[in-house]
């Protein structure tokens, strides 16, 4: 992951005696033991640590707490009992058919989004990884959807994919009835394809950076050995960009669980009939709209655990391959 963002160059180490920390005095050794070699780092890191504590760790804790209690939003200033209910909220979440449907939807999303993203972004990044005319133009145009607000691009996709929209005009008799976004079978695939379109530029850039880190000598050696284009792809390119591929799958899982704007605006509230609802959409619907934050928190906690487990799994798998 680190080498994806930027290559780490090699520098020759300087002479040892130039290091200021070569010989610490007695008192220095004591502060080092207590605060580390650069105690000022604690000061530099403090605001961020506070931010994490207040707006990440505490909410995470609160979510767990709420999920084990009966909790609802009362009028301000009114104190209401919030009894401990054990795993009741979790049982409610796990037996809810809407939750099950949301997870099926995410599975559909992943099956479409991950392969499409990996293949298309690797293909376009490979094409970009050469001296070609208008290279900067191409790179920018691929990145434009990624930097644009979902709300804006969803606006256009609503127009394009509407029942009488241009896409159905082009397809003619092939257009599905009902149209894409209101079709039980097509709503979630439409969301998956929209998300692929929107985020592909990000992954193209990641693949491009990884490709540029693959030593040219490997390709030349392969060429000298008479390896075909396909063989070079399999033996040099794909292993060289494996980290990015792992990252794509990881981020796709996280994105899938977190879709909100898409089911809210693109498919009008996870429709039709919950067929494009995502877990976060359900959290919003149950927690805020229907005033069941306890149920929503339990769902959130389960998702956090799931996301972390999957991330760890993908991570371990990749480390074994490496």
């Amino acid at each position: 992951m680190t080498s994806v963002t930027a290559p780490r160059p090699k520098f020759p180490p300087l002479e040892g005696e130039l290091r200021p920390d070569a010989r610490p005095s007695g008192r220095q050794r004591l502060t080092r033991a207590a605060f580390g070699r650069n105690p000022i780092g604690m000061l530099f890191g403090a605001p961020y640590a506070l931010f994490i504590a207040l707006l990440f760790a505490y909410p995470l804790f609160l979510a767990v707490w709420i999920s084990f209690h009966s909790y609802f939003f009362a009028a301000p200033g009114v104190s209401v009992p919030r009894p401990f209910v054990g795993l009741a909220n979790y049982t409610a979440v796990l037996t809810d058919p809407a939750v099950r449907q949301a997870f099926v939807n995410i599975a559909i999303f992943l099956v479409i989004n991950v392969p499409l993203t990996v293949i298309l972004s690797l293909l376009l990044a490979t094409a970009l990884n050469a001296a070609i005319p208008f290279r900067a133009f191409f790179r920018t145009s691929y990145y434009v959807p990624y930097v644009t607000a979902s709300v804006a691009t969803i606006g256009v996709f609503l127009f394009i994919l509407s029942p009488g929209g241009i896409f159905n005009h082009v397809l003619g008799p092939l257009a599905p009835v009902p149209s894409w976004l209101v079709n039980q079978n097509w709503a979630m695939p439409s969301v998956a394809i929209y998300v692929t379109w929107k985020s592909l530029g990000f992954f193209i850039l990641l693949y491009l950076a990884a490709l540029q880190n693959v030593p040219e000598e490997l390709y030349e050696a392969a060429k000298v050995d008479g390896a075909s284009w396909w063989h070079r792809l399999r033996a040099v390119t794909i292993p060289g960009v494996r980290q990015v591929t792992t990252l794509v799958s990881l981020l796709a899982i996280i994105t899938g669980a977190n879709l909100f704007t898409e089911p809210y605006l693109l498919t009008a509230g996870g429709g039709p009939d919950g067929k494009s609802a995502s877990p976060v959409w359900l959290i919003y619907q149950s927690g805020i709209e229907q005033n069941h934050p306890d149920f929503a928190s339990a769902l959130g906690v389960l998702l956090v655990i799931l996301v972390l487990l999957i991330s760890a799994g993908v991570w371990l798998l990749q480390r074994r391959q490496a």
Binding site: T5, A6, P7, P9, F11, P12, L14, L18, A34, F35, G36, N38, G41, M42, F44, G45, P47, Y48, A49, I52, L55, F56, A57, L60, P76, L123, L124, A127, A130, A131, I132, P133, R135, F137, R139, T140, Y142, Y143, V144, P145, V147, T148, A149, S150, V151, T153, G155, V156, L158, F159, I160, G164, I166, H169, Q212, A257, L265, G287, I288, G300
Partner: protein
Amino acid sequence: MTQTASAAEAGATSTAASDDVPTIEPRASRSWWRLILLLIGAAVFLFPFYYMIVGSLQKTANTTLSGTLPQPGNITLHNYGQINAALGLGRAIINSGIFTGGVLLGTLVLGILAGYALAQLRFRGRGLLFAFMLLLLMVPFQLLIIPLYVIIVRNYGLGNNYLGMIAPFAINSTAVFIFRQYFLQVPKELFDSARIDGANELRVLTRIALPLVRPAVLTAMLLTFIGPWNEFLWPFLITKEQGLQPLAVALGNYIETVSGVATNPYGAIMAGSFVLALPAVVLFVIFQRHFVTVNIGSAVKG
């Protein structure tokens, strides 16, 4: 030593190749395929934006193929007036600006400090802070909306408030991660001489480290910008007052509710979408060169 030099040179060559200079490929046939593939890609990526502009100028929505070209008789700016009347574009843009500005400021000041500390300073708790940063990058913000809503809106009464809008995004962890990665690449030895000369850590950071990672700062700022500018869910949750809603939220609500009554709802939505998309797109077109991974090695070797 010679190996290091040649590796750095190879890096420099690949950086040079990334500039937009048409060069002759040894095998022209392969270059053709690349170009066709890239052109198809560009068309797929850019068409919705083109269609957004064309659609925003249509008097009546024309969804046939001929509607993809501007029709002289069907052009109007009326849709922009309509969306402005519905949302109050100026107010919404100011709200987006305050939200985005607050996040940028927080990330620029506090995020750089954290990134530098995580990369270059050895202090107690560094490992823990780094672990929490990774955890925060892993756990999506959206999963914490219920407790955040309880804390910020219910406990602190910061609903319909800029501070409440900014708080959960105040320091962008991705930016902190980028800062750390780039500060890591600056060799420690570079700082040590300054420290021997008695420069304090803040001076070392601002005078030596920051200038070396300036491209990373710009990259991180661009990334940080699109977060709040494009964010929908959180400001949507906490701003029920229209006068405080950022543009993305105001437009999202318009799409969800008002669109049914407008004479050409799609035209008005396209107009709003265009206004919302424009700043981010323009920024990225201007600064697209900073969206390359920077080989800091050449800068240090200078």
